[in-house]
């Protein structure tokens, strides 16, 4: 869609439509500078919100905290976590922007977040809700399982490594399909990786229960660790066919790369923090009206974090990710299925990520808007605790903290091919299965697209998630 920052850096004109929009002077007229809220139609309110959001982000990127504050004020009149999709998005994006601003004072930020209680059970619950409300995870699982079934045809010993093991339903489904195999089920071993022990305990319990019921020789091997610290060599075992499944998890390894890059260019990180503060100190107080009369919104200025070393091409030189993929390759997996978000949230500058994130989460919020009523607490939980946290991570965090480094499929393809994997076309059967799932569960408005053997899970025509399969290639 227009406005997507596909070609970063080079032709910034294409990135400009939303920027342009945010700069346009609004409709003429005499009167107060504040939009009359009662008169605003939802559509116009949405457009105002977009304008404000992009404008505010520009200011934050430039370090103009005072003016950003004015924008945030304006947005707060229009945004709400209970409103329509655009209002909710605005609420979470402004929260992320505010978080980012606050990080200019690291101690302050730490103090504010020091007493936060994060419940593991809440996180588990929220992920389960996302699984239920939106079909994306289900589709990814179905496609993954179908690919595994086809690859493991005839195999007697199957070992699956699950890089982000939190949903038992995925493997329960596979167990059932394996049971129905004509040659009978294989001996199945699943290694689940997760940072939290409780999640893995629950997985183990559910899966072994299911396997016993189906009478399948099964073993669950929990590994509690961070993905980038995973010791893959210890997982190797001869004589078994290996499949790896990664659902929305692989991108977190990219965060570790930033740490090394940051270390090599310390000036960048220092400058970002200090310039933030300097600009804050030089601000003067002003009212919105005064500011509007005098000031002009700075356009896409060179934000401090753009001075950091990363260029659009440096994503290919990610040593940590490269070594992780190479060690995965070293296990010679028969199949590796990767599901990732199809959006570029790993741009070097805030604005690149911001615009892409707006589009991506815009669609995700639309999904929820169309399937779940507004009053639903569950929806709010998903929006706040899952999407909101991701948005905050993308926008407010930098460096190794920024875990949600989503990237588009073409970047993953080049990374994986570099690491020695060969692409496996996902079969037509998988597509049919996924389509049947959509039909049978009554999900409306979701689409599946196939391109070059990879599947895209779309909301209407916007691809949101990509599923691709790979194999060990010499």
């Amino acid at each position: 869609m227009a406005g997507m920052v596909h070609d970063e850096g080079s032709s910034s004109v294409t990135s400009s439509p939303l920027q342009m929009f945010s700069l346009m002077s609004l409709s003429p007229g005499i009167g107060s500078p504040y939009p009359l809220l009662r008169e605003v139609s939802p559509e116009d309110r949405g457009l105002w919100l977009i304008r404000y959001l992009v404008g505010c982000a520009n200011l934050v990127a430039a370090g103009s905290v005072e003016d950003a504050n004015l924008y945030l004020e304006q947005i707060s009149h229009l945004a709400s976590p209970d409103g329509d999709a655009m209002q909710r998005i605005a609420a979470y994006f402004t929260e992320a922007l505010a978080d980012r601003i606050l990080k200019g004072w690291p101690a302050l930020h730490k103090a504010l977040n020091s007493t936060k209680i994060s419940l593991v059970s809440e996180e588990i619950l929220v992920k389960r809700l996302f699984f239920e409300l939106c079909p994306f995870l289900k589709l990814a699982y179905v496609i993954t399982n179908q690919a595994i079934l086809e690859a493991m045809e005839g195999e007697k010993m199957v070992h699956i490594i699950d890089l982000n093991s939190f949903e038992p339903a995925q493997w329960i489904n596979l167990l059932q399909s394996l049971k129905a195999r004509p040659e009978g089920p294989p001996h199945l071993r699943i290694t689940g990786v997760n940072e939290q022990k409780e999640v893995l305990d629950q997985m183990a319990f559910r899966l072994t229960e299911e396997a016993e019921k189906l009478d399948i020789p099964f073993q669950f091997n929990p590994v509690v660790c961070k993905l980038e610290n995973l010791d893959l060599e210890s997982l190797r075992k001869t004589g078994e066919a290996l499949a790896i499944s990664s659902v929305l998890q692989l991108h977190t390894v990219l965060a570790a790369d930033d740490e090394t890059q940051r270390r090599t260019s310390p000036s960048a990180s220092n400058s970002s923090n200090s310039s933030h503060r300097q600009r804050v100190l030089h601000m003067k107080q002003r009212t919105l009206g005064e500011w509007l009369q005098k000031e002009v919104v700075p356009l896409y200025c060179a934000s401090p974090d753009s001075a950091s070393a990363s260029s659009p091409l440096s994503c290919n030189l990610s040593p940590k990710m490269g070594s992780f993929l190479t060690s995965l390759w070293g296990l010679s997996p028969k199949l590796m299925v990767i599901t990732e978000q199809e959006s570029n949230h790993n741009g070097a500058t805030l604005m690149e990520r911001y615009v892409d994130a707006l589009y991506f989460y815009g669609s995700l919020f639309d999904c929820l808007e169309s399937t779940v009523p507004r009053a639903s607490v569950e929806r709010q939980k998903v929006e706040k605790l899952l999407f909101g946290e991701e948005i905050k991570n993308i926008i407010a965090s930098e460096g190794i903290q920024r875990k949600e480094r989503h990237e588009k499929l073409e970047k993953w393809i080049s990374r994986l091919e570099l690491a020695g994997f060969g692409k496996v076309s996902l079969s037509y059967n998988g597509l049919l299965q996924a389509g049947m799932l959509l039909q049978s569960c009554g999900y409306d408005g979701y689409n599946l697209k196939e391109e070059n053997g990879c599947f895209f899970l779309c909301w209407h025509d916007k691809p949101l998630f990509s599923v691709s399969a790979w194999r060990f290639k010499r």
Partner: protein, 520 residues
């Protein structure tokens, strides 16, 4: 189809024949007997119609057997009747294809039958001289052609959309993605004809063997509707975005139709067959839906979920409030449970009333306005008048009222200022219609309001005032300078100083509005 190297048959090698079989065993085509004699014939010889010639009357025959029969009629003395000597047992002969690029050119993959190699050569490397009348399909070998003509048109499949197919697999594939089926997807899953169940089975076989790529447009075409909106003449852009939604809904329809057709086919298949054949036959499908396809027919979600999932209790670790239990019912752990039918009915939430309401649509619209602003201003901002007097005048009013006295533009000629005001304010005529002329004045750009410029007047002063204030680099190029100085450029033509600074401006500093701190 999963493209995997089958480890069991990596290389193409001739198979070892074990002990000589009691019964004469046929080798697989292309895997010849290692002890056989390899005969390489030239293309001319291969295609020669009469290779076997009678030595008595020089009559030619295609086959050796025919020649022998003919020779009998010559009443030869018995000695001459027999062929020269007895090679017992005669060595088996295999033939290689004379075409060097062919797989069968190497002796390891020779074919055992002369007729076979002749047919192969014609089929693969020959010209197709035989044509079917009905379907215009061409063949190089006459026997192939005859065989085809016998069946062509005798058995036809017709899709509901009207297309005719002679091949079962292409028919099934088409049906999976047929648009017409999308409309009927909600109707009968009960096509209990034998033909349907056979089609379903063969569809899986065909799908397993040759998965055709679905006729979906690649993602680039999704972008094009929006890009094409960058027209210089701005129509009512609110409505223009909507066509992209129906266009994509057809895309959606194709996928959902695929699902529907597949569901119908699979449902019909299992409904028509015994349970035993369900598990025996379609492993690909029934593996995932062990017995749930039957409930699919009845469209009862509770039975579906009961069959598919295990009745697991909700997560024991959290004490869930009552509302949550609606969502996390016993179907929590299955992939194929509906997202709670009850609540869906209770809150029968329709899709957002207008497409423009959804966040994605809003973002697209915003981008389109922004993009159009760029193009419009680029095209017209350079002095060309924007044809919308009401908007222009209102923009002028904006600048006048919002000014703090240093309204440069208003001091200029009125005629010009209207067009420039329109350009400066990025005043797209459509924009005022967009916001309906509401009393909102939020001129973020405040282009004309350089306080330092003051009343020195003239374009140059304005430019230098803004120029001086600019300290931040902007990676923004193209659109904005044109936009900002649309009017300025136009006016600059008549003004040397103005023009000079205007022209140099975009190169040295792609200038534009500066940040707030610099207006202090």
């Amino acid at each position: 189809m999963v493209d995997m190297p089958n480890p069991s048959s990596q290389e193409v090698s001739s198979r070892d024949v074990a002990a000589p079989p009691a019964k004469k065993r046929r080798n697989l085509p292309g895997m010849p007997d290692p002890g056989a004699e390899v005969i390489a014939l030239s293309p001319k010889t291969l295609l020669a119609t009469n290779r076997f010639v009678c030595e008595i009357c020089s009559k030619g025959f295609q086959r050796d057997q025919n020649l022998q029969l003919h020779r009998r009629g010559h009443n030869l003395p018995w000695r001459l009747r027999q062929r020269d000597g007895n090679a017992e047992p005669p060595r088996k002969k295999v033939y290689v294809c004379p075409e060097p690029a062919c797989v069968h050119h190497s002796p390891a993959r020779a074919l055992g039958d002369l007729t076979g190699i002749k047919k192969h050569f014609c089929r693969k490397h020959g010209e197709k001289k035989w044509k079917c009348e009905r379907c215009a399909k061409k063949y190089a070998v006459q026997s192939d052609w005859k065989a085809h003509v016998r069946t062509c048109g005798t058995r036809e499949y017709k899709c509901d959309c009207g297309m005719l197919f002679s091949r079962r697999d292409s028919f099934v594939t088409h049906r999976a993605f047929c648009d017409a089926l999308a409309e009927e997807s909600s109707r009968d899953h009960n096509n209990n004809s034998a033909q349907d169940e056979q089609k379903a089975r063969s569809s899986e076989a065909a799908a397993a063997s040759s998965p055709p790529p679905p006729p979906l447009t690649p993602s680039t075409t999704v972008v094009s509707p929006v890009l094409s909106l960058q027209r210089s003449d701005l129509p009512e852009n609110a409505i223009e975005l909507v066509p992209s939604a129906p266009a994509s809904s057809s895309l959606a329809a194709t996928i959902t139709a695929a699902a529907a057709a597949a569901a119908a086919a699979a449902a019909a298949a299992t409904a028509g067959l015994d349970n035993s054949t369900v598990t025996g036959g379609n492993t690909a499908f029934t593996g995932i839906f062990p017995a749930s396809v039957a409930p699919l027919l009845q469209a009862s979600p509770s039975s579906l979920s009961n069959v598919v999932c295990t009745a697991a209790p909700p997560s024991p670790s959290t004490a869930e409030p009552a509302s949550l239990s609606l969502f996390l019912s016993s179907t929590a752990s299955s992939l194929f449970s509906r997202p709670d039918q009850n609540t869906q009915h209770l809150y029968a939430l329709p899709l957002p009333p207008a497409p423009a309401m959804s966040a994605t649509a809003l973002l697209q619209k915003a981008a389109q306005i922004g993009a159009a602003a760029t193009s419009a201003s680029l095209l017209r901002g350079l002095g060309l008048a924007i044809s919308s007097p009401p908007a222009a005048s209102s923009h002028e009013a904006t600048l006048v009222t919002a000014g703090d006295g240093s309204n440069l533009w208003s001091s200029q000629g009125k005629v010009e200022s209207s067009s420039e005001a329109a350009g400066l304010g990025l005043g797209l005529p459509s924009q005022s219609s967009l916001f309906g002329n509401r009393p909102m004045t939020v001129d973020f750009l405040r282009l004309g309001m350089g306080p330092a410029g003051g009343h020195t007047g003239g374009l140059s002063a304005l430019l230098t005032s803004i120029d001086g204030g600019l300290s931040m680099d902007r990676r923004f190029s193209g659109g904005v300078p044109g936009v900002l100085y649309g009017g300025a450029g136009g006016r600059g033509r008549g003004d040397d100083i103005g023009r000079g600074s205007w022209e140099e401006f975009p190169e040295s500093k792609p200038g534009g509005p500066k940040g707030p701190p610099h207006h202090l």
